[in-house]
């Protein structure tokens, strides 16, 4: 490690707490510093000060439902200092994940805009390789671990295929079936029952279906709803229900099969056509990229693995990649990338795989 940066002047506990919180945020505590940090924590006042410093560091992390327009000026000012590269929308979403995942409170302007698929797409049956579990209880919580996928068969016969690192809660009532997607991604194959609507709540929206197959994904500050078959309606954000600020126009969005609804913290919702079979490749433990930035591909692959791939150099993140890759095998991905691009891979002592520019790139 580099030189020690421990403040040993007559700093207040809060100054020292700020130091430790920032060292932690920079992910650069080595073993010696960790020991020092732990020793410091036992001093009177340290723990309180550290909790305060963490709160200050994390001020932007929990802004769900809050109007973020006040942050625009700060963001513009900061962006003006970023000289090297334009901000890629998707990369931005990934970067924000560290800060504000799941922020989805903004005015809804949703109307179907994308070109609809001419015909109802055919989707492959659920993959037999995904283990099936009965979930007959009227209410409960279910989660998949990183890298795990599972098909839940609910009390009404509806099937929920959960992707990696996902969590849902089930709340079946006599008149309604409600599932909350707490995190991650799931495909819903809904048993038809017009008297008992089936709704998925996610990211502040409610997606309601009648005899439908659709997928919902949240994370990285975004919500995606993809309709495979049937019909769904996506309600505007629920922020107004509390009566604090009643947004004016609240227009529900209807999807037709093959359409995907996307909303991020920075943009109005939009609807566009997608290839549903490609969208569902995850059920075969595959993912496809089409001229995507490496940073985006890595963020996607990292959803499936406890051994994260990290990019140490922005140039690598901006390289483009295409093709179909296996999820849950970061080593194989890193090997492939390093044969296709001027990139090399190595294991770090933190249990990560680091992609960095190879000698070829430096020239």
């Amino acid at each position: 490690m580099g030189p020690r940066l421990v403040p040993d002047r007559a700093d207040t506990p809060l100054d020292r707490a700020a130091h430790w919180a920032v060292r932690d945020d920079a992910d650069s505590l080595d073993a010696a510093e960790q020991a020092e940090f732990d020793a410091w924590l036992t001093e009177p006042g340290s723990a309180d000060a550290y909790a305060r410093a963490r709160d200050a560091l994390d001020v932007f992390d929990d802004l769900d439902g809050v109007d973020l327009s006040g942050l625009e000026a700060l963001r513009k000012e900061a962006q003006a200092h970023r000289t090297r590269r334009p901000w890629l929308p998707w990369a931005a979403g990934g970067a924000i994940a560290a800060g504000i995942a799941g922020v989805l409170g903004f005015t809804l302007l949703g109307q179907p805009g994308g070109a609809p698929q001419p015909t109802t797409p055919q989707i492959a049956k659920a993959e037999p390789s995904i283990p099936e579990v009965a979930a007959p209880a009227a209410s409960g919580a279910y989660a998949t671990a990183i890298g795990e996928q599972r098909v839940l068969v609910l009390a009404d016969g509806s099937r929920v295929t959960m992707n990696t690192g996902s969590q849902i809660t089930v709340d079946f009532r006599p008149d309604r079936r409600i599932v909350r997607l707490v995190r991650g991604q799931a495909l819903f194959d809904v048993a038809h029952n017009p008297k008992r609507p089936f709704s998925v709540a996610a990211g502040g929206r409610v997606v309601t279906a009648l005899g439908t197959v659709f997928e919902v994904q949240i994370g990285r500050g975004q919500l995606h709803v993809t309709l495979m078959r049937g019909k769904v309606v996506i309600d505007p954000p629920r922020a107004a229900t509390g009566g604090t600020a009643a947004p004016a126009a609240q227009v529900p969005t209807y999807l037709t099969p093959g359409q995907q609804f996307t909303v991020t913290m920075r943009s109005a919702p939009e609807v566009h056509a997608v290839d549903v079979n490609r969208q569902l490749l995850w059920r075969q433990q595959l993912v496809e990229f089409d001229d995507a930035p490496v940073s985006q591909a890595v963020a996607e692959l990292n959803r499936y693995s406890l051994k994260p791939i990290v990019i140490s150099d922005a140039r690598v993140g901006q390289m483009r990649i295409s093709g179909v890759y296996k999820t849950g095998d970061p080593n194989a991905f890193a090997d492939l990338v390093s044969t296709m691009l001027p990139v090399a891979a190595r294991d770090t002592n933190r249990g990560e795989i680091e992609l960095y520019p190879s000698a070829r790139a430096a020239q």
């Binding site: 001020v59 409170g105 995190r183």
Partner: protein
């Protein structure tokens, strides 16, 4: 499980409104979801012991004060166990959304205060804090883009954090 006293409607509401936020709060700070769940439970237990929740002004603020003190106690009690306690678990419990109006109001006021506090910082310190915490840029990338060292970036961050922590205390 939650020690709901029968008929205590406001406690139910509290649980409903703050559970997801508290899980997320602790999820960022402790190494696993189980620990976050335990700490969340402790917050509710403390609030329950205090009683008369209805009479508290700024309930949301009180809930998070309690959360912070639970977290501080956790840090104090944490013996020499560490290691993965400082890995990033940002993603782990994100994705849930809590739109309880009171909580949203509290967050909105707090955000306005944060913006005020940031405005009085030197521009470079403010820009660095925003790039890191709002835009998610890595320390070394900020350093490269601003043409300064990583440790200088950390110094700016420390100043911003200490300043915000003092300002938010009021």
């Amino acid at each position: 499980m939650s020690p709901d006293p029968p008929g205590n409607v406001s406690f139910d509401a509290l649980h409903r409104n703050y559970r997801a936020s508290l899980l997320r709060y602790f999820g960022r700070r402790v190494p696993d979801a189980g620990a976050a769940e335990d700490l969340t439970q402790q917050v509710f237990e403390r609030l329950l012991r205090r009683g008369e929740i209805e009479s508290i002004d700024h309930l949301g603020g009180y809930v998070f004060q309690t959360a912070r003190s639970v977290f501080a106690d956790y840090l104090r009690n944490r013996s020499s166990r560490h290691g993965d306690a400082h890995e990033s678990f940002d993603e782990a419990l994100h994705g849930d959304v809590d739109f309880s109006p009171e909580h949203v109001l509290m967050k909105r006021e707090r955000l306005a205060r944060v913006i005020e506090l940031l405005q009085v910082l030197p521009e470079r310190t403010r820009v660095i804090f925003v790039l890191r915490r709002l835009e998610g840029v890595k320390y070394r990338d900020i350093a490269a883009q601003l043409g300064i060292s990583v440790s200088a970036v950390e110094k700016h961050m420390e100043r911003a954090v200490a300043h915000l922590a003092r300002g938010l205390e009021e």
